[in-house]
Symmetry: C2
Subunit: 376 residues, 2 copies
């Protein structure tokens, strides 16, 4: 399989926010386009929980990326103009160091001996990579879903790291509904006897727990509205149905099943647990003396585009509005867009025509070269 | 424990809609108030999936019922005026015959050898009980959630069974979002090795699966809005927290935990599976040549009150509106109320002040004696 991923060695030891260190950790990333001589045309894209760094195809890896419709020559994030970097989050399992990686101290996978992970750790790691790539200031930092929270952390911890920001379907802090959903996903994995306190292998993999976690994810990533139109009460053909008691018989059930099958065994359950909990923990209010608004006001950027989707039940559009207002109060020029895409939280992956149009027209307004104020 | 339940023997064999029969099946029910000489003051209350027939306290059983605030002397459903009956659904496990009951043919619990169950079967069983109680026509048939679907079935299969109807947070057919949630709840139970194809006992009970099913239920019975106000990001005291990796640390997690603990081992997992699937199957459109509207138009009643809650994600308020419009098109006088209670689907159990006020003022408008047109 062709693979365009590159690996950046993080400084050793790499100190984690809540204590503990990582030795010889790496970040996996991909790049598209060319960094300008001034290093001022870089766009960093931070994905959601599940995708890796392969956001778009390239000469090396022609396979479609998870944001293929958005990133490429002449596309919304135009790789003819921008040097685009996409990072697989620290703690994930798509090349970056995470719980499935071998702990150099023991020669075995970390499992739940991996140190407690926060999105701030991921943000700090991202910043190390940018430094190594010679990118003093990003032209734009783009964060989607969990990646949007990491982006907020990165801007709070590293003022001046970017001139502009695109925030997509994310949150300044997890609300209890999102915490409840993620807590239940984690519980499903942990209750699977094969999880075995984080020590499993291919032969004994917590498949039942991961199936439930993924299906619950898919349910909350989409919207009831979309599904009513798409599936209604369509039944499966009797010859494609599984036999057995309580087997799936509605189209929506086989849709969930297909999603679960594609995900299970391609994602590390411990990574899921760590990143899920990191998402619950993240809270901009920590940077504002207990106030989200005050935390956001500490972010120093020139321009921002904030996009939310009004059918998103996991990261509701009100939270995007909070981010937009906070960045505006911080002095940025902010464009806020609430899209009525029916696809809920997943809209940025599906309704790429509208997202692309918003992203492309925002990036078009950015100056050709960076202009971070000296003060910052 | 005092127990006010009574038991009605259904005719043997009791034929089920999808085939199969039950022998010597019973329905558990409770009553409050006195049936009038004309038998025309009866109100039948059909609960949701989990509660039993104990809707309110009585001299025999002074324990609070699941609708204690609504049913009683001088309350919204005034037991001084009405003879109130509450039935535990056929297939449930609170006294009525269901999968946990002993199959007389084998001397063992039915388990998944229980015949396929539909809400129409429950409706037919209810009707047998009414007949035995000497109730030719109900003054009002009240259905909440799953019980609301059973009520629709009862009115479709037994025209003239009631003069008036109160429909609460239910659906004329399950939409794919509700099917997806219920399918996942069933999967969590079925994937638990202790479920063992429906043959479990106290020692080997599918607790993990039931915990997940219940928590997912609670998440969808409430609303993100309520939880944001109620729990925000409140943390548990460190001394009340469980130890162990990924243990609960937010208040919303311990709330879910408390709900799961109260439910698990008090509800039969197979009953849950059967009633959950029956809810997915139920479809008023079957009675209208594929059209929900045409199905509803076949219901013959004089008056209806339809209540929905606009934060209900499982039985969205649009579905209540569909029911109201259908009953109106059928010729009934219909009062439709969309409440903005923050408690979502559970509001009828929690926001009893507002529900009580709607229900009470509707019942006050009903004539003292029944007046079912002879045509029906």
């Amino acid at each position: 399989m062709p693979d365009a991923r590159r690996y950046h060695r993080l400084p050793t030891p790499f100190r984690m926010k809540r204590g503990g260190t990582l030795e010889h950790a790496v970040l996996a990333y991909e790049t598209w386009g060319k960094l300008s001589a001034h290093g001022d045309n870089a766009v960093l894209v931070l994905p959601g929980l599940s995708p890796g760094a392969h956001a778009a195809s390239s000469d090396i890896d022609p396979g479609a990326g998870w944001w293929e419709a958005i990133i490429g020559p002449g596309k919304a994030i135009d790789t003819g103009r921008w040097y685009v970097v996409c990072i697989n989050s620290l703690g994930s399992c798509k090349g970056s160091t995470g719980p499935a990686s071998i702990d150099p101290a023991s020669g075995r996978p970390y499992g739940i001996r991996f140190p407690e992970l926060t999105l701030e750790d991921a943000a700090n790691a991202n910043q190390c990579l940018l430094h190594a790539l010679g990118i003093g200031h990003l032209a734009c930092l783009v964060g989607c879903s969990m990646g949007g929270m990491t982006a907020l952390a990165q801007m709070l911890l590293h003022p001046g790291c970017t001139r502009a920001h695109i925030s997509i379907s994310t949150a300044p802090q997890a609300q209890p509904f999102a915490i409840a959903i993620r807590s239940l996903q984690r519980e499903a994995i942990r209750l699977d006897p094969n999880w075995n306190n984080g020590d499993y292998d291919e032969a004994r993999y917590p498949e039942a727990g991961m199936r439930i976690a993924r299906k619950l994810g898919v349910i909350t990533y989409r919207s009831a509205l979309e599904w009513s139109g798409r599936f209604s009460r369509i039944r499966l053909d009797s010859d494609t149905r599984d036999a057995g008691p309580f087997a799936a018989e509605f189209a929506v059930e086989s849709y969930l099943e297909a999603h679960a099958r594609r995900f299970v065994r391609t994602y590390d359950p411990n990574s899921y647990l760590y990143l899920s909990r990191a998402s619950d923990w993240f809270d901009v209010a920590e940077y504002g003396g207990g106030s989200v608004a005050a935390g956001l006001r500490r972010i120093r950027i020139d321009d921002a585009l904030v996009i939310g989707v009004d059918t998103d039940i996991l990261f509701p559009v009100e939270q995007q509005e909070t981010i937009a207002e906070g960045l505006r109060a911080a002095g940025a020029r902010v464009r806020f867009t609430a899209l009525d895409s029916p696809q809920g939280h997943d809209a940025f992956l599906v309704d790429t025509e509208r997202f692309g149009s918003e992203i492309g027209s925002f990036l078009d307004t950015l100056p050709a070269t960076g202009s971070i104020a000296d003060m910052r």
